[in-house]
């Protein structure tokens, strides 16, 4: 979307990556606490790896921020569906008296009205990742970079194959987010006419489905040079299928999102097929809560849109993307 805020944010993110805890400890006492800030956080409950990571990082943010800013309260609510999340919003406003809300909407359309009502009551609203259908219902929007999520693997694969070879892709679940990634991937491949995308099927961000789809790709195509699995969970299934078929033609499996197992494999260099990854960490909920809370404490506003950059992870920088305690 917009790239102006991206570069400044990259710097901030890099800083916080160096020593988030240290930075917080220093910054904490420096800020005068005038009014009590209560931040409500509404996120989907942990039902798979990625949302498991979201819940972990939201609780981590609560812990770090409340320690760093006395007088700040962060309330984390997880919901199993859109109606439940809408109910939680009402509770956060009426019972918990929040003055800022960070929401990862369960569904875009269904939550637009409830969020608008929260904003109408004077609560500062930051929407994360899944955008609302009406942007006037929010004060700020923070999201992962889905275009880079598709573009970076395509560029890496094209370079690794010297611009020539056969590629298969595995998509997630049919959603606009998935389309954005696939479109970005295809756009890069257009510049490399000798790279052939043999097929792109849905494997639902699921290990089992990816295993089956990969088995069938291997049956169908005698020569595959690289696989874009578009998520580390799917990459696990892909690797197993390749191993079972004892195929030697595949040179590269590119997952995505930086799951800790894959980042470890990358850092250790223990699998020659895993050479790179692209970040799309659930940690962005941590960053969103931190940005919102710190801005509100100072009475400031966030930029209208902040894109958390997706960056290329290789063996060299893998260490700074490895969070062994996170479930994802």
């Amino acid at each position: 979307m917009n790239s102006k805020t991206t570069s400044s944010f990259t710097r901030r993110l890099a800083l916080s990556a160096v020593g988030a805890a240290a930075a917080l400890a220093l910054a904490g006492p420096a800020i005068a606490q005038a009014n009590k800030t209560v931040v409500g956080v509404a996120i989907p409950s942990a039902t798979h790896g990625f949302t498991g990571g979201i819940v972990y990082w939201a609780n981590q943010a609560k812990k770090d921020l409340e320690k760093a800013h006395p007088g700040l309260q962060v309330i984390v609510k997880t919901a199993g569906g859109a109606p439940e999340q809408a109910n939680q919003l009402q509770d956060l406003v009426t019972v918990n008296k929040i003055n800022a809300l960070v929401i990862f909407p369960f569904e875009s359309a269904a939550l637009t009205k409830p969020v608008a009502q929260v904003k109408a009551k004077g609560v500062y609203v930051t929407v994360v990742d899944r955008g609302l259908t009406d942007t006037s219902a929010q004060d700020a929007y923070v999201a992962g970079d889905n275009t880079a999520f598709g573009k970076i693997p395509a560029e890496y694969i094209a370079k690794a194959l010297n611009g020539k070879g056969n590629v298969v892709a595995m998509r997630g679940i049919a959603t606009t987010l998935d389309n954005e990634r696939m479109d970005a991937f295809n756009a890069v491949l257009k510049n490399h006419p000798d790279i052939k995308l043999l097929d792109a099927k849905y494997a639902n961000w699921n290990r089992d489905d990816a295993f089956k789809v990969m088995q069938d790709y291997l049956t169908r195509f005698p020569q595959i040079d690289a696989v874009w699995a578009a998520d580390d969970d799917m990459a696990v299934g892909v690797l197993k299928a390749i191993e079972q078929a004892k195929r030697k033609d595949i040179k590269l499996v590119f997952g995505g999102a930086g799951a800790k197992g894959m980042i470890k494999t990358l850092a250790d260099g223990s699998n020659p097929l895993i050479q790179a990854n692209v970040s799309y960490s659930p940690k962005f909920i941590y960053d969103s809560i931190k940005l919102t809370a710190e801005a509100r404490i100072k009475g400031e506003k966030l930029p209208a849109t902040t894109i958390i950059p997706s960056v290329l992870i290789t063996k060299e920088n893998a260490k700074s993307f490895y969070f062994p305690d996170s479930p994802f």
Binding site: A46, G52, R207
Partner: protein, 348 residues
């Protein structure tokens, strides 16, 4: 509840079936026509295989056939147990969550026990036993709640569907539970090894199906299951211990889920909250496509096995071709399931 429409539909279908030969093209065709109905899933499978071969020459290769059979093993084994439960007039919606929870528990158990027992091999073997025992225990709980607790099977297993998966998610913190590498190396042959050129899961699937068929058709227990399904009260008057038979049926299914999990764990060496999602529907679909009536009373293990294979073949063909929009995969599966059910609608 699907029971009511299913009952109506099959009564209507039965009426239609008697009407068709009456209007007869040739008188002696009745027996032939009756046989054809039962062959619905087999005909469906043969047609699909022909279509698959025409669409992609790699479809009929030995490796592809073995891939499909191996991946069918999980659902197929669960479907054999499900067949008993459905014949007895019950249902189990929890099998997918149950498989996931068993897989997660077994992995955690193996990881924890390997250092205690001092031998990874022992940890794997004890863990495998645990999978089957856990399945039997979960089945026992279902059976007791349904019989002694007098709660509808639909409700009991709808409840445990949520409970099992929530506990797995809790144990895994929303992420994945992964088997340690040395254990994984020992355990993986259970899924990946071959015996006489046929993968182990296929052998176990075959074994479970044969034993299931023998129990259903050649034992007193099997006859009681069918009797209870066709009329529970009559069975009770005939001195059948209905509660005991029903509890055993849910335990049998639980054991099948345990066995399926044994084969599932070594494949990827991990369990996550998305493991086994919608397996219950796949297993029930395999049983129903295979000619077993949802309201109970009669059914066949052979049909169930064919039904399970048929469902995997559809997704295999869809993966081997790219002529249909990927958005429509689920629709193709739905059309084939309905078409096969239609071919055998007059069975009873």
């Amino acid at each position: 509840m699907p029971q009511v429409p299913a009952e109506n539909a099959s009564t209507a279908a039965a009426a239609a079936a008697t009407a068709v030969p009456g209007a007869g093209r040739h008188g002696g065709a009745t027996a032939w026509w009756g046989k054809l109905h039962g062959l619905g899933p087999v005909i469906g499978l043969v047609l699909l295989c022909i279509a698959g071969t025409l669409l992609n020459s790699n479809f009929a290769t030995y490796d592809n056939v073995m891939n499909v059979l191996t991946r069918t093993a999980f659902i197929g084994i669960i479907a054999v147990g499900m067949c008993f439960v459905i014949i007895s007039g019950g249902i189990d919606l929890s099998v997918g969550s149950m498989a996931a929870l068993i897989a997660g528990s077994v992995i955690l158990f193996m990881n924890a026990m390997a250092p205690v027992l001092g031998s990874p091999m022992a940890a794997v073997v004890v863990g495998m036993l645990l999978a089957v025992v856990l399945g039997a225990v979960f089945g026992l709980v279902h059976g007791l709640l349904i019989t002694k607790g007098r709660i509808e099977p639909f409700i009991v297993t709808l409840g445990t569907l949520g409970i099992f998966r929530a506990y797995l998610t809790y144990f895994s913190n929303g992420g994945a539970i992964t088997l340690e590498n040395d254990l994984s190396d020992i355990y993986s042959p259970v899924y990946y090894a071959n015996l006489l050129g046929v993968p182990i899961p296929v052998w176990i699937f075959l074994l479970v199906a044969v034993i299931g068929g023998v129990i259903l058709n050649r034992t007193a227990y099997g006859r009681y299951v069918q009797a209870i399904g066709s009329n529970e009260q009559v069975a009770q008057y005939a001195a059948v211990d209905v509660h005991k038979i029903k509890i055993l049926t849910y335990m049998l299914l639980g054991v099948c889920v345990g066995i399926a999990t044994l084969l599932y764990v070594p494949r990827l060496g991990s369990a996550s909250p998305t493991t086994g999602l919608l397996w219950e529907l796949e297993a029930i679909a395999a049983v129903i496509v295979g000619g077993t009536v949802l309201k109970g009373g009669a059914g066949s293990i052979t049909g169930t096995v064919v039904g399970a294979i048929l469902l995997s073949v559809i997704s295999n063909i869809l993966n081997l071709t790219s002529i249909i929009s990927v958005y429509l995969n689920a629709a193709v599966q739905g059309f084939v399931i309905i078409a096969v059910a239609f071919m055998q609608r007059g069975k009873r």
